[in-house]
């Protein structure tokens, strides 16, 4: 299984672009379907923006590491040292209300769950991991 991406970004929303660009390069290098690559870009936008926005209560710089591997699966790991996100406590998205009452919260995590075959959130002693596995 080849490691394709190894990126370390800081907890700055603008750095998510670095990962997005590497996913585009991966797609071109391995001739992946463009819409699949865009699905991965969307998923990383959701997960990394959640980490950057919610995982840190201080004003310090933190590092978030992204690794991705490819064979017949796309496998990716996001590793950070912020607060653990427990998917059991994720707000349920509002999918059915009328236009006036429709709320937007919880859609990001819900989208990731629906777009990627397998998503796991792990809480290790000194690090938090999000692991993605998707059949190519």
């Amino acid at each position: 299984m080849k490691q394709i991406i190894n990126a370390i970004i800081s907890n700055d929303i603008h750095q998510i672009e670095t990962v997005s660009e590497q996913l585009v390069v991966m797609g071109k290098t391995f001739a992946l379907d463009e819409q699949l690559v865009n699905t991965f870009r969307l998923v990383f936008d959701e997960l990394l923006s959640n980490v950057v926005t919610h995982a840190y209560g201080d004003n310090q710089v933190h590092h978030i590491e992204v690794r991705a591997y490819l064979d017949s699966y796309f496998i990716a790991v996001i590793e950070h040292d912020g607060v653990y996100f427990d998917p059991k406590n994720a707000p349920k998205p509002d999918l059915y209300s009328s236009i006036e009452e429709r709320k937007i919260g919880g859609l990001g995590v819900y989208l990731v769950d629906n777009l990627i075959n397998e998503v796991r959130y792990l809480n290790k002693e000194n690090k938090r991991l999000i692991i993605l596995k998707h059949k190519l």
């Binding site: 819409q35 006036e100 990001g108």
Partner: protein, 113 residues
């Protein structure tokens, strides 16, 4: 994100471009803020050049929809690629938005309102 605004008889076409992610959604929101106080009968959001939309972008689509609903106006989203349409569908947006395949179809649809 570049947003090209074109006036039409009944309102405006906004042609969106590229990815609508957590960063570029802010520009989309700015466009919404600019337009929210002006009552516009119809908006067409042309997404033919949009590669993907994350939840931060979906939020702004919903703001436009709520605005038009409040003002008894109309909103048509056109040109979504399959993946973006799929994201709208998973998000429960296909029950509250109107869609057209192309801008021309969206304009023709407006004439029926």
């Amino acid at each position: 994100m570049e947003i090209i605004e074109t006036a039409i008889d009944k309102g405006k076409v906004l042609a969106l471009n590229g990815k609508i992610d957590v960063v570029s959604a802010r520009e989309f929101q700015q466009k919404y803020d600019e337009l929210a106080d002006i009552k516009t009968e119809c908006f067409i959001l042309d997404c033919s050049e949009v590669s993907y939309v994350s939840s931060a972008g979906l939020r702004v689509f919903l703001l436009f929809m709520k605005l038009q609903h409040k003002n008894n106006g109309h909103l048509i989203v056109c040109g979504l690629n399959q993946m973006v349409y799929n994201v709208f569908e998973i998000s429960g947006f296909t029950t509250i938005f109107k869609f057209a395949d192309t801008r021309d179809e969206a304009l023709a649809l407006l004439d029926t309102f």
